[in-house]
Symmetry: C2
Subunit: 334 residues, 2 copies
Amino acid sequence: MKNITIADVASQAKVSKSTVSQYLNKRYEYMSESTRQKIEQTIKELNYHPNIVARSLKQKSTYTVGVIVANILHTFSTQIIRAIENYFHQHGFHIIVCNADDEPEKERNYIEMLMAKQVDGIIIFPTGGNIDLYKSMIKKEFPIVFMDRTIDELEIPTVMLDNIQASTLAVDRLVESGYSRIAIVTTSIIRNISPRVERIQGYKLALEQHQLPVQSIYIKTPEVDQIEEALDELFKQGKPPQAIIAGNDRVLIDVLKYIKQHNLKIPSEIAVIGIDEVSFASFFTPPITTISQPAIDMANLAVDLLLKQIKGADSADEKKVYRLQASLNERESC
Amino acid sequence: MKNITIADVASQAKVSKSTVSQYLNKRYEYMSESTRQKIEQTIKELNYHPNIVARSLKQKSTYTVGVIVANILHTFSTQIIRAIENYFHQHGFHIIVCNADDEPEKERNYIEMLMAKQVDGIIIFPTGGNIDLYKSMIKKEFPIVFMDRTIDELEIPTVMLDNIQASTLAVDRLVESGYSRIAIVTTSIIRNISPRVERIQGYKLALEQHQLPVQSIYIKTPEVDQIEEALDELFKQGKPPQAIIAGNDRVLIDVLKYIKQHNLKIPSEIAVIGIDEVSFASFFTPPITTISQPAIDMANLAVDLLLKQIKGADSADEKKVYRLQASLNERESC
DNA sequence: CTGTTAGCGCCTTCAT
DNA sequence: ATGAAGGCGCTAACAG
């Protein structure tokens, strides 16, 4: 019942292990037609499959990459995982999926395990809590690509949304519809998570461009479990907002729940626009205007950047941050 | 710049490789306190991390398992992936995620690659198109667990929903509300995908129990891209249904789109109930009654079953099919 | 307690 | 065109 190895094939086919190895690596020039066929046949007979672990040990390449998402609960993360898996599969790579759960500890643990497992590279949604580790990886020239979030001080290729443009899109749309008291709600920014910070920044810039006042009472950045309270504060003040920008899909869901509970009319009583597309946007009542990220393009770009590093291309553009454009899905909620 | 190995640590610490290996495997009884400390220190100095590929080659265990989902687009799949990743992580395992895309070819390819990579086991949402392969895996005693779908003829532990109970729950609820013309829509059953077949079967049984006629015009099993047409047929006949059961989340979305487009009122003109919970159910207008699967329990059970096989426990219950209970989320759409 | 030795399964010069 | 031999990094007897 033991595993069959290259040696079994060799003895069965009456050739040496190295010849079989040549065959496995498709270097057919190094053997006669007859031995080639004999090997092919015995491989089939024995139902032999090369042991990739052994090959990896020798070749220092596992054809496996790690993907560490900051929080797998975001729709965006799962979209990206899908797309990355799909594109890597086309290149013959497997992916190991890890969820850091927004905890730097977990992230560090995963990174170390993945490297110990000799993965060929990692795509990370960085928590931002392991700068030293990232640095040591750079120094080792270990292939990495950051996704969704950037760490300014590091020269790591990064794929992210043009968040400024995304919130500008939202504000422009809202202003166009005549709203001036516009609020934005994102989840906590205490750890400087770049998309959130940048979306707020873009919101401010856009308001200024429209000569509208930026008021801190209209900017809320609660923890995920306190979004309801934040919305309460927003609405229970003298001048409640006319429109609200949900900084991501989880916030949007809480916003819509709140609106439902309080029986508010969209958009007449409160206009809504969400960053991140959601499954129900088109058939909600009313259909929700959203701003979507080009998840597939982002995933493919990240994969390309990682593969380039894995294949050892020169690191000419190592420090580049790629910001892809968001797009507006005009519907009827604002 | 070369990788540091156990040999480097050994020479640096002036001990032999095997002692270092003992240390790595925490068999501290086999060395003096002083050498233990010396090793510990040099490992830190050198920033040494054991090469897991080499260890795996020796030990025949990679602490990695594969998860092949039939179709990663279903919410259920991503829920399961999350839960499995989480639970395996607690056991020190990594998961390689694969998406078979409902194509047996792809599934076969993945299974073979995963086995070549020496994963310790696989959790599969079987497409059903590779019976011979499944059989050969059983014969090799390779650890497998099936998820969501069963293949009758095979003795593989399987975790799935009690689909009969799930649709009974739906029908009961609908009948209770006074509907008698009840339709069910699932995606294609040409390949005998068990959840779909069973949900329809449960629907029929439940109708019979309520002494209601089972009419084939109320049972639709279109391909995913033809759900709209199927709904058209359903509604454009003499006796359109009063209520509709959506067989899964993707169908539910199409049903709701259709209802929106045709301006039907829920539940007065058409009642709706969906199998699979969806993110928007609670704040939709009206809130959608759904039947949800205990995804986390299912995932944990599957992991436990796989780990038991990996750890080589006796295969007493190898052939068991575990069917977990669905639960009703009563809301206002029926 | 510690070191020596022999693999795990494959790839890769280097001879033949 | 084919084979022999060494080594990838680690583990596990078995000696000492």
